[in-house]
């Protein structure tokens, strides 16, 4: 778990229970700080306020897409992955890693390791 120990991770998820669970999983995986945002605006504000190393983005946030956040992260070269409940979800980021909801700790860890090692 060493890879995550000094890192701050941003979780963008509009469903509070899923957000809480994801937060727990990430804490268990050893992240130093987990920042949770429920929408695009709050996520962008969080990004401006804190130094984020990696992000887990739900694609659909209450009808709004999380792509502007991804755009922002890509510009700043912050690795991210998408989590989605849609099958065949298309994003403007063809190379982005996509994990299916619901996901377990193993899937989350493996996705994060992949993007952080790039």
């Amino acid at each position: 778990m060493r890879a995550f120990e000094d890192k701050t991770v941003l979780v963008v998820e509009d469903e509070p229970i899923v957000a809480m669970h994801t937060e727990d999983l990430l804490t268990d995986l050893g992240f130093k700080t987990v920042v949770v945002a429920g929408g695009v605006d709050r996520a962008l504000r969080a990004l401006a306020a804190s130094c984020v190393d990696v992000a887990v983005l739900d694609v659909n946030l209450n009808g709004e897409k999380s792509f502007p956040i991804a755009e922002h992260l890509a510009q700043r070269s912050i690795p991210f992955l998408f989590a989605t409940g849609y099958s065949d979800q298309e994003t403007p980021f063809p190379d982005a890693i996509m994990i299916n909801k619901p996901f377990n700790s193993e899937a989350l860890e493996s996705g994060l390791r992949t993007i952080l090692s790039d």
Partner: protein, 635 residues
Amino acid sequence: MQTVEARSVDEVSSDDALTGLLRLARQLFQTPAAAFWVRERGTERLAACLGDEQALRTAYDADLRAKFEDRQFVVLPDINAEEDPFRFKAGIREKLASGLASVTLIIADTKARPPGIIGEQRSAFQAICAQAVTQLELRHSQATQAKMMDRLSFFDRLASATQELEDATAIMRTVARLTGEFLDVSICAYADMHADENGFTITGDWTAPGSASIVGTYKLSDFGDFAVSNLTSKLPLVVDDVIAQLPSDAAATFQSIGIAATICLPLVKDDRLIALMAVHDARPRIWTDAELGLIGEVVERSWAHIERVRAERILRETSRRLNAILSNTREAVFLMDEQQICVYANAAAEQLTGYSFEAMRGRPLHDVVHHKKPDGSHYPIEECPIDRAFPERAQTSGEELFVAPDGSFYPVGFTASPVLDDEGKPIGTVIEARNIADEKRFQEHQVLLIDELNHRAKNLLAIVQGLVAQTMTSSDPEIRKALEGRLMALAAAHSLLTKKNWEPAPLRQLVQDAIGPHVAGHAVSMEGPELMLPSKTAISMVLAVHELATNAVKYGSLSVPGGGVDVRWNVEGDELEFQWQEFGGPPVVAPAKRGFGSKMLERGLAAELDGSVEIEFLTEGVSCKVRASIPRLPA
């Protein structure tokens, strides 16, 4: 002399012109008797005479007739024969221009005339006979003309009486009446032949006053071999006198229905005798060629007329039906000719395109409704899949965008079918099309809806997962893990099915997905035919395999290095036989109490699959046999 004069009065009254010529001859040659004989159609008659008619008939004997066979001018100046009433006879024979008739002029005297007829007398004699020929020729041509006029006016009457008729029976009834009256026969009848070409039914007839109808069913063979052989060889049957010309049994058949003379004509179609038309006379009658010709023409015209009205009626009915279909269908139908020019468009086509048929007629349909692509660029007809049906002679179907009169686009589903002539050459295209905008919207909506539902189901599973995690923080991590594993397996199966829109899923993939997370570093073999499982069966199978795999990881063959699983399945009829066999694990000890996994498998799954599940805790490895009936899927 008195008697001769007296007799001659009758003759004059019967043939003015010829008698006048005889008077001239008698004066010129000073003979008491003179006569004209006319030979026509093989019979010779006394056409006019002056003097003793009986004596003249006796004098024009076989001997004298025979003499005219060799030469045209005969003079017997001094006859010494007891039986001959005359001592002098002279004659001349001239043929009519047609060659079919001749006139013989005879003069006779009771006294001998040794010098005979000489010099100028001879040419005067010839001139008088020539006059008679001219006279007869004139009459012939007048008679012929009159007959032709008669015939023409008959056909004229026939045509005007039948032209408005559209029913075969009405046509034949009128034809029979007019023909019977015109030919002055006793019966004019028409009949349909039966399929055996022997039986026939006279369906109608016209009868002259005094003759009885002969409507009824008969056998051609009863009318004799002559009738059968003529009619079946498409030849007319012509009998002047049935008693004289036919065997007695055949004649008896004719007589039994009051027929003494007949002309019967066959109608042959496709080499089959299908109908008859006949004129009959109650008395023997010598049918003339003109009569035979006339009835032949009547029959030909009538049957042609009937055929025509029948064809017209069929055509009218067909076109009425087609019109009913084409005007009422909601499918737009266009017909293109071999140049791909629009020659027909139905009401639905006008409604679909927003153009009237008149606006489309004479132009390629492509130029009217399909000339540009959605990006506004020109759409060349050569690239158009609709118009490809014609050159490729194959039906094509698909979806295209048509251009509305206002320039907007609308989606259509089309089928273009080439129209082939009898030789298989394409001569046009039938295009059916319908606006599929609503259908498309509905489909898109449905896809969105299904997608949203799938998404929500997944989110719900994620929330349940979160709730479990939050609720069970203080519980046994083993239990938490087991629950999470089951939730994940359910989600994975769900995911696979949503990807395929809840269509049947392949068993191999399902098994692989379910055991994938657990088998790293272990020997796993899978063997079985390709098999698509309906979604409900698929989910049950995935949950079952997940239970087996997690159990194997915990206690069974997947809990030690070197252990493995052998998965195989087979399909027989509607039954799936699936077997899970562990090997290489630690010796198996049957659990004292059945856990949730076993129960779910043996009870839940068995019920779900409408089959049986049997778990055996064999020492060498856990074995699970699943039998499930699978509904047959359409190929």
